[in-house]
Symmetry: D2
Subunit: 283 residues, 4 copies
């Protein structure tokens, strides 16, 4: 890793590490040694518990020390920690949509800890490498459930939601591949612990996100409205003792590089929205 | 309605009534008077209880007598009744996918009566009339939840599932509009009342549908596999006390005209699969 | 190639060879030796001239003898030859749409030999193997011109059109990849040599194809109308000295296996339309 | 039109008129009277000849005086005129892609005046009002030629190309509706009058557009690369005496509001690229 020589003594402030899972935890400690700040795009620094990491990623974690220091890069819940962090774990795309959609009700103790997440993602979530599942003749004009109950964002959601709400959430997560390129819609089903109306629910979300630059509670959330932007749209509807909450993001922006830039702005003392004030594709 | 004159004394055996809700219940009694058999494609004869009908369709039912005699046109559960019926109510598209996916577990008393149905439909489900929601620039490259908890197929699913399982099911139904033309995937979440493995679940479905010509339990159900055919694919996966069941159909075939032809074959003493032995679009 | 032993003495009538270009010309002679009839799906037997083959496919042709005997499997122009053939070269997908669209005007000497073909194909034309071009995040929501002027169907179209019209056609062929799974639209531009109205043009097509089971001249051809069927729709419009002709097929049916079955029916003395009487996806 | 009262004496600099064809020419003269500058998004001020206007739009032009003064809002060819204009006619979407793609070869006298334009547009080009053609179940998974040879952008292209090249071009224009939301690819076929290589062609385009902020000559132009941006990608390939030129834009940006903002920047003495420095959806 000779490139660290050129980092030492350079005026680099921050590095975005975009390697596969497993590779990042080899690079990150070397980079941190040089004194540069790091935002890691992989899953390597998102879970705190090395045994959970091993269970879901299939190998030991080789950098538990920095894992302890890593901050989860979701400004809506960890803004002050991100500002001071040397190493930030950028959230997963499904996790971003789902945590933003469900955390406020968990934090307010309005719902039980049992959550069903039925999520739908565009194909760009699968990455740049062609595969049978993202081969257009296979995924076009269809919708395909996959990794049912076994997707790695499950422990990430549970860990982070517990960190912010102390509610020990249990998530049943079913991702589906949509025949669109960009965008995630996470449809989340929860059960009330308190009696709540739609208005009560809306108030919780507006209280939580009212000052956030990139999260909006709306009547009719849709993927199209947020694609190409760093925005997250959230909508909710109560039905007796159940509530459905929708979270919509662009998986490549708020669910990846956009959120990373938002974190970098915070880490470097820049304006949080710098470079992110793009309205998106809109209608 | 002078066309009944040409029906009287003709050799017509059966009529498919494809009118909007509300119009069908005006036509059907006149047609039945002529002695012809009727399959109604609308929602007018799917619910038995006129007060439930009024609540969800917004007007009184004007033909309660024939409503009492109408048989729900799902051969998998009402084959012998369909054979003898004069009036068959052809099932709704979402209802078909969802009932076929959930009934076996309810019948076997393996699950509680609380069901979450997260369904995704192609745009052809919205009919022939252009509307803002099906305008391509609006629905393309997006996924849009709509009629959350208020869709008319909710009471239809509850009524029919109760008729076949005596389980008083309560359904929270969230339909989503997909940017594909044909196909429905209904993702259904239930809670076990018994301890069950994936194998136990599979056995229940194979016992229920093993001899059915158009319902198959598969490992990886997908919309593409059934589009253009009368087939329904079902898949299931158990997670602790929860189970996810998928039902995939072509909303225009098994979810509409194909199922109607299947019923007509039964009502007329023809081979049940006549005209329906098309493999579909496949992979 | 020991499988030929099991063919010898068997009651096999016909074999469809579906191998890559280059592999087929190794298999076909061995199969023909056994006395079985062969339909080859590759490009190996579509061109008569071995030097043209070498130029476009990049290697020598190793079976020039059978190449001489091979019949081009397009029943609309070679029906009687196909009936008697032992080896049929099944046409390419682009070639099928384009030849059916342009041959009648060339045969009738109504147009010059200079043809521009602007063709658009669904992604299934690229085959089963995932590649960067058919990776959904790349080809979705786009249209991509490729192999401009260098596609191998160019000499195939020129050779076959010359065989049926003796007009020495020169084709400039520009294929485009569409973000749909199935279907080809070939938009063909020609220059009149005679003065012609739309009615004159239509008469030429109706005279040519009036009795064909799978080719229809229509006002508004579209891909959707023919997908999942063996039909070809053709439309045309004259503008002064130019004429635009559209040919629409399902690349996987009339442009591949459907046409092969049509040929097999002819070769085996079966009804030409057997197994092919499927209406397609329609509107 | 009482709103002009509030314009009089206000500090409004410029008004974008976005009304249907026919309505704009009623509004524009009233607005110009107030001294404000106007950019008209409709087709009303794009053609200079009132008889051509009447032929293609079906009614008389009621404002021929301002029509004489209107400048065609394509900065690449009318930058200095736009800077001084009071009334700018914003170009049509198809016209933008096609003129940018073909003008350089016409200007350089490298090609004959006979041009075939095979264009493909996303559905947003059809506007906000739902119609049968843009109903998703009709246009999804298909490609539909329409208005063959009768589209109103034909005289616009011919008029503007003649204005810039004095070549009396004759265009055969065939638009197709693509099942994507945004983007136009215009595939243009021309015949050389001079002998030219690919390098010669490329040099002509680089000379013409080398300093343009929004037009790029590239090897592989695609719609995806320009969607959500004000960029135009152009590619070209020579084949003997023919040449194919591709022009790709986002019909809603460079083909509509983006180009209008570019003109407004010029008319108001602002930086030409203000508000338009968005990279687009990219890969």
């Amino acid at each position: 890793m000779e490139y660290t020589e050129s980092i030492n003594g350079s005026d680099l402030d921050i590095i975005f590490v975009a390697t596969p899972h497993g590779a990042a935890m080899k690079e990150v400690p070397v980079l941190l040694e040089t004194g540069v700040k790091v935002i890691d795009m992989s899953g390597d620094y998102r879970l705190r518990d090395v045994s959970v990491y091993k269970k879901w990623y299939g190998h030991e974690h080789s950098d538990p020390g920095n894992l302890d220091d890593a901050v989860y890069g979701m400004p809506e819940f960890f803004r002050s920690e991100i500002k001071k962090a040397d190493i930030v774990a950028n959230p997963g795309c499904y996790a971003t949509a789902t945590i933003l959609a469900t955390a406020p009700l968990l934090i307010s103790k309005a719902v039980k800890n049992d959550i069903i997440v039925d999520a739908k993602s565009g194909t760009s979530g699968a990455g740049m490498v062609p595969s049978p599942r993202t081969h257009h003749p296979f995924c076009g004009e269809s919708i395909i459930p996959y990794s049912v109950g076994t997707h790695r964002h499950t422990p990430e959601m549970e860990f982070v939601l517990d960190a912010v709400s102390k509610s020990s959430p249990k998530i049943l997560f079913t991702p589906h591949l949509l025949p669109i390129v960009r965008g995630i819609l996470s449809t989340c089903y929860m059960t009330f612990d308190l009696e709540m109306t739609d208005e009560d629910v809306e108030r919780i979300y507006r209280d939580q996100y009212g000052k956030e630059p990139f999260v909006r509670f709306v009547d009719e959330p849709s993927v199209r409205s947020v694609v190409c932007s760093n925005h997250c749209q959230i909508g909710a509807k109560a039905f007796g003792e159940k509530v459905v909450v929708f979270g919509a993001i662009d998986n490549l922006v708020k669910g990846a590089s956009g959120q990373a830039v938002q974190c970098a702005n915070l880490m470097l003392g820049l304006k949080e929205t710098s470079g992110l004030e793009v309205p998106g594709m809109g209608v």
